[in-house]
Amino acid sequence: MAKKKIEPHPMENILRMDRIPHIWCPACGIGTAVTSFASALEKLKVNLDEVCVVSGIGCTGRVAGYTKVDSFHTTHGRAIAYATGVKLGNPKMKVIVFSGDGDIIAIGGNHFMHAARRNIDITVICVNNFIYAMTGGQVAPTTPLTAYATTSPFGNIEPPYNIPRLAEACGAVYVARWTALHVRRLTNSIVEAIQKPGFSVVEVISPCAQYYSRINRLGDGLDMMRFYHDNAVIKHNEPTENLDIDYQKQIIMGKFIDREKPTYIERYNEWLSESKPKKK
């Protein structure tokens, strides 16, 4: 029997197909977020040699390993700090930090805050699945109140972070939120975020079928997607204080912040040229 010729996947040049199938569970939203990211790169028509993906640890931390660009899988929470070094070392790179909510907002919260304040020209794609999934479903800083997790067996008692509000308060120049279902809008947002000079944040609400939805009896990944379909509403420019996510309540999506600010590199170069010894 002649072997049937398999047509190459259209994202063969952006993804490391030799590493796929990936480690993510069935019905996980991270793969969808990666597809959106890959199509955003395709849409941008950037030179892929000038793109760098930095990830931390966790399920989403593995994204760096699947993207066929210069990619770093670094320590837990430090992806933004590492990306800061890459961007400052080679300012022509488009540096994208692709990591999870626990990585970016919990252990790396400080780096997130300060990179936003410093306005380093990087793009953060934060996949928010409301839980620490790789370690087995512990409560995360984004877990909604009353939701169950292995470390909140009686319901979460800690109010969660509202990522767009945090990003806005810290000074991010571009903030958007979409779910893993709204792939086309998500793609457009990633395109805009990468083009935007400064610290841009795209939050992707993603189903975690194996931990978050199983522990909370929310069905499988498809049920989570159906929930997003029915309960996610688009409200562009919504004040970020209204963007809290309550347990199984409405999720507001859209582009919330888009403003101009000089980046760290612009300011630094200005200072550097002033401090240069004057030629006599």
């Binding site: 490391r16 590493r19 892929l48 040699d49 000038e50 760098c52 930095v54 760096a64 390993g65 066929k68 660009v69 210069d70 990619s71 770093f72 899988h73 670094t74 320590t75 430090r78 933004i80 700090a81 590492y82 990306a83 800061t84 070094g85 890459v86 961007k87 400052l88 070392g89 080679n90 022509k92 790179m93 400080n110 780096h111 805050m113 300060h114 410093r118 760290y264 630094y268 550097l272 040229s273 002033e274 401090s275 240069k276 010894p277």
Partner: protein, 396 residues
């Protein structure tokens, strides 16, 4: 004060240890500094900023030492020679990324101006309590290179050496100074650019699709590429194969981690540097490094008045430890005397190498000041009175 086009400030200058380190770094080609401010390392940052306009260097003050070293590693992958300057508890924070730097094989230099501990200690107090942390601080097995200068001039010279080692072996190299060396000012001679011996990392030159990030060359060091050069590589802190992809097997762990150590142990004779004075016919040898070595010569001259044959052995490289030489010395002398500004760290390593062949006397000081020559002299006299253990055994 005017540097040449390469940023080298050739001439003789009155510099503190911290300033000499930055001059050494600029001379070595360092163009990135990521720091978090901590006493007593601050003059180094000031010096870097004063001169960065001249040499087009990039500086970032991060939010903590963890991110400072992370940024240094990131910048190093873009092809810039990078460094960080810290102190005591800052080094404790950096341990996470020293481990990452070792696993990703990222060249960089970390200057640790030691201060007392545990925890905050005396911020500007002289100490040498980080020698074991510098070797074993991050988890897992690794070999590292640690240098200890004892004067501003040596701060300059060893910083260049530290960059050369880090680039050659692709490893984070630590430079351990202390508040005393870092802040005392002496004349430092900076040679002309052509007299500087600089090493830069070996870059991969082959086809773009043929690059394997962790395929070792014959020296067990894989050639590197820079971010943005189009090799589109992947590297990870997980145990990885030649392609840089994670593989979770014990065989891969062996293949991945063993060369990390062997690349340094194999060439340790080229790395190790020490200074010996009158050890040939000595009965007692004083082993010292960094700040303590500055008082040893006075102590030795005091002891010589009592007719004791004393030699001095100064460590310049403390890791890898000059084990061969110390073992050899131990066989022909009566005792080692080790003044250290800690409760015995390198002393334990010397005791291990002495292996019972001679006595080992500590002169510990817990930090905040230098040991007095009299204290060291007292120990030398005590050491000379005790016979060599092995001789005792034969007499019995």
């Amino acid at each position: 004060m005017k540097a040449n086009s390469k940023g080298v400030l050739t001439g003789t200058h009155n510099l503190s240890g911290n300033e000499a380190i930055i001059e050494g770094a600029f001379a070595a080609g360092c163009r990135f500094l990521g720091v978090y401010p901590i006493s007593p390392s601050l003059e180094a940052t000031d010096r870097f900023l004063q001169r960065s306009g001249e040499v087009d260097a990039t500086f970032v003050q991060m939010e903590d030492e963890i991110s400072a070293l992370a940024a240094v590693l990131g910048a190093s992958w873009t092809g810039k020679k990078s460094m960080s300057v810290t102190s005591g508890s800052g080094l404790s924070n950096m341990m996470e990324h020293i481990g990452l730097g070792i696993m990703l094989q990222t060249p960089c230099v970390i200057v640790n101006v030691q201060r007392t501990g545990p925890s905050l200690g005396i911020p500007n107090g002289v100490a040498q309590g980080d020698t074991m942390q510098a070797r074993w601080g991050s988890h897992g097995d690794y070999e590292t290179i640690v240098l200890t200068p004892n004067s501003p001039q040596e701060c300059f010279d060893l910083t260049i050496k530290a960059f050369n080692f880090s680039e050659r072996f692709r490893v984070p190299v630590l430079l351990l100074t202390d508040a005393y060396i870092a802040q005392k000012k002496t004349l430092v001679k900076i040679p002309p650019t052509k007299d500087l011996k600089l090493i830069s990392r070996k870059l991969f030159k082959g086809a773009k699709n043929k690059y394997l990030p962790y395929k070792n060359d014959k020296n067990l060091v894989p050639p590197m590429v820079n971010v943005g050069d189009g090799y589109r590589f992947h590297v990870t802190g997980l145990t990885h194969d030649e392609r840089g992809y994670p593989v979770m097997t014990s065989e891969c762990q062996e293949a991945c981690v063993r060369p990390l150590m062997e690349k340094i142990t194999k060439y340790q004779d080229e790395i190790i540097e020490y200074e010996e004075v009158e050890t040939d016919d000595a009965d007692v040898v004083v082993i010292s490094y960094g700040a303590t070595s500055t008082v040893v010569s006075k102590a030795i001259s005091l002891a010589k008045k009592d007719g004791i044959k004393v030699g001095s052995f100064r460590l310049i490289t403390i890791w890898p430890f000059p084990e061969k030489r110390v073992r050899k010395l131990a066989q022909k002398i009566d005792a080692f005397v080790i003044p250290e500004i800690n409760f015995g760290q390198i002393a334990f390593e010397i005791e291990r190498c002495a292996a019972g062949n001679c006595n080992v006397f500590f002169v510990p000081i817990l930090g905040g000041g230098l040991p007095t020559p009299e204290d060291i002299c007292k120990s030398i006299i005590k050491a000379s009175k005790e016979k060599k253990k092995i001789e005792k055994l034969i007499e019995l």
